[in-house]
């Protein structure tokens, strides 16, 4: 007993030292990760406000001698052909992503609800079939879809993209939402039905509002996925006025471009909508993962 009393303060201080050691390791590590994450993005921004000449210097100008917004003006100017293209691609991306998002939610919500609540034959099989979709790369589907889209007359239309994007957003959406519905007590619906609501009304009035964070998370996920998608857009679209941003940008800046400020400005502008959307809504996303997918 007495020995414990004697050694206790010493071991406590040693423990505190060790804890401090961990904390410092954590801080240094975070600083490193911040550098790793932020430096490329900062360099993109700095390059985007350089003139074409200033960008191609060695050693580089760490901060441009004459910062200029010329690259942004060029991209956003509807009078100029680059600006026209850029704005059109931007609009195309926005259209495709928005429609995909709305449709994803409309399709995923009832499916997730059914997987969570009903026990129909084949339920597990169908659920895993849906999840399995995530396993397979775009390339496997590319050739046949290419032919299918030609068959359906959807080549060079945004419809081909929307239809395709729906399927890769759906599995994760359904999985996330199902986790949500699993956690909503069935008794709530039962109570509503005893009060005379139909199953559908109970679903719309009780279950839907409770799963709003899941729906928002699903919507963000679909939107970002569609906004950033490249390989299908690259394959299905050939006409210039149909292109979405990721493919469109590639068309402006050919293989051996030297217009790095323009390229960086375009990369930045392309990232703005999704980054803003995500930062505004990220707490829903994290919450959806916590409550839906990860919960024990």
């Amino acid at each position: 007993m007495s020995t414990t009393a004697e050694t206790a303060p010493r071991s406590l201080s040693r423990r505190r030292m060790r804890v401090d050691g961990w904390r410092w390791t954590g801080r240094i590590f975070l600083a490193f990760m911040l550098l790793y994450t932020a430096v490329p993005m900062i360099w993109m921004l700095i390059t985007s406000i350089k003139s074409g000449f200033a960008a191609l210097q060695f050693p580089p100008q760490w901060w441009p001698d004459e910062p200029t917004l010329a690259s942004y003006e060029k991209l956003l100017d509807p009078q100029n052909s680059v600006g026209q293209d850029f704005l059109r691609f931007f609009w195309n991306s926005l259209f495709v992503s928005t429609v995909t998002t709305i449709l994803s939610v409309i399709v995923a919500v009832p499916a997730a609800y059914a997987f969570s609540r009903f026990s129909f034959p084949g339920r597990n099989f169908l659920f895993f079939a849906v999840l399995l979709r995530n396993m397979f790369p775009a390339v496997i589907f590319l050739v046949p879809l290419f032919i299918l889209m030609r068959l359906l007359g959807l080549m060079n239309t945004h419809g081909s993209l929307i239809l395709t994007y729906l399927t890769f957003g759906l599995p994760l959406a359904i999985w996330l939402l199902k986790g949500f519905y699993d956690n909503i007590p069935v008794q709530l619906e039962q109570a509503a039905r005893i009060d005379g609501a139909t199953r559908f009304q109970a679903f719309i009035l009780i279950v839907m509002p409770l799963s709003t964070p899941g729906i928002i998370a699903t919507a963000i996920y679909s939107f970002i996925g569609a906004w950033n998608e490249y390989i299908y857009a690259y394959t299905f679209l050939t006409k210039n006025d149909q292109l979405t941003l990721p493919v469109g940008i590639q068309r402006f800046f050919s293989e051996n471009t030297t217009d790095f400020p323009g390229l960086m400005a375009a990369s930045f502008m392309m990232s703005v909508p999704v980054v803003v959307l995500f930062l505004v809504l990220q707490r829903y996303f994290v919450r959806a993962l916590t409550e839906g997918a990860v919960k024990h």
């Binding site: 423990r15 590590f29 975070l30 990760m33 911040l34 994450t37 490329p40 993005m41 360099w43 390059t47 191609l56 060695f58 399709v107 995923a108 499916a111 059914a114 026990s119 129909f120 169908l126 895993f128 079939a129 399995l132 995530n134 396993m135 397979f136 790369p137 390339v139 496997i140 589907f141 046949p144 879809l145 299918l148 395709t164 399927t167 039905r193 005893i194 005379g196 906004w227 950033n228 490249y230 390989i231 990721p246 940008i249 590639q250 800046f253 790095f260 960086m264 990369s267 990232s271 999704v274 980054v275 995500f278 930062l279 990220q282 994290v286 993962l289 997918a293 990860v294 919960k295 024990h296």
Partner: protein, 324 residues
């Protein structure tokens, strides 16, 4: 009205039990649950058109010699020739090796970095929210933008990394990161990890919130060190989330395309070709649809093996959720 609903509900439940006890009534059960299918039907319909048909078609095409230009009426049946062509080619083994390094390297490093970041961010401190938001950004921006940003950073004449290395006296001239056979794959993996560690971070942050605080405190009272608490309390709680995260990352990496395609197009001399970029080039570049399809089938089989573990891990999660 209310009473009627209740009787229907209980009646249905009884019927369900009765049917489940005997195995003969599957059809009857399907009929009874016909309304339930309506909820899943839209999802399944989309999936069938865009997934089942393509898979079938790819398998079929892999046994045919196909003319370029996709005039597929002119294809001729050649059995397993496409498969032997692939398995005996040198490029195949090169690309397979690249894919292995790419997938394992990206997945493990991204997971470790993401997990460590989640742990470091777990404790409350000033600016934590801002830091977290900044760290997530690379995951949100498009891989196309990321590829261009890093291509510029790696630029062999004007790249910032080269300039820093020269400035510090570590190199005489800026190194060729992505134009050299030896450094191209690691350089691309760095870009990929940059984009992916935030995903691991989010997943693990979510997981960390489920670790019961009382257990950690109890362990601390019992004199467990920070490491012991992590290893014996935190980590076992995160086993499921970790498995799911690693599998999702592995699948995503195995299937990645954009970064190698935009940054190097698989070059120099196939040093950064992975399966997916190689298949894409075979199909849409060289128009060897049959060979590309056979490749896809091999890919498919590989993924099915991976998928077996994936589904098992996810359904393990399921079971836990159900029992909790």
């Amino acid at each position: 009205m209310g009473r009627a609903t209740v009787t229907i509900v209980t009646g249905k439940a009884e019927a369900r039990q009765r049917v489940q006890s005997g195995r003969s009534g599957v059809l009857r059960e399907i009929w009874e649950h016909r309304a339930d299918y309506a909820y899943v039907l839209p999802a399944i319909a989309v999936m069938l058109v865009v997934i089942a048909y393509p898979i079938y078609y790819t398998i079929e095409l892999s046994f045919f010699k196909t003319p370029p230009g996709l005039q597929l009426r002119d294809k001729t049946f050649i059995g397993f020739d496409n498969y032997t062509t692939i398995l005996t080619s040198e490029v195949f083994w090169r690309v397979t090796w690249n894919t292995l390094i790419w997938t394992l390297g990206s997945t493990l490093i991204a997971f470790v970095l993401g997990f460590a970041t989640a742990l470091a961010l777990h404790r409350e401190f000033v600016g934590r929210g801002v830091l977290r938001a900044i760290l997530i950004i690379p995951w949100v921006i498009s891989a196309v933008a990321a590829s261009y940003i890093w291509k510029w950073i790696y630029h062999s004449d004007f790249g910032i990394i080269g300039a820093v290395l020269v400035g510090l006296g570590l190199a005489d001239r800026p190194p060729n990161f992505i134009d050299s056979v030896n450094t191209v794959l690691p350089s691309l993996i760095v870009v990929n990890i940059w984009r992916e560690f935030p995903f691991a971070m989010i997943m693990m942050m979510a997981g960390l919130q489920t670790v019961p605080e009382q257990l950690l405190r109890a362990a601390q009272v019992d004199g467990a060190s920070a490491w012991q608490r992590f290893w014996h309390v935190t980590f076992p709680h995160l086993r499921n989330v970790s498995t799911v995260t690693i599998l999702l990352l592995a699948v995503a990496n195995f299937n990645s395309f954009i970064i190698p395609w935009i940054m190097t197009g698989g070059g120099p001399s196939n040093a950064s070709h992975i399966w997916i970029t190689h298949i894409y080039e075979l199909a849409f570049g060289r128009q060897r649809w049959g060979v590309a399809s056979a490749y896809s089938v091999l890919l498919f089989l590989t993924l099915m093996t991976l998928g077996y573990f994936y589904v098992r891990a996810l359904s393990g999660n399921e079971r836990q959720e159900g029992s909790a």
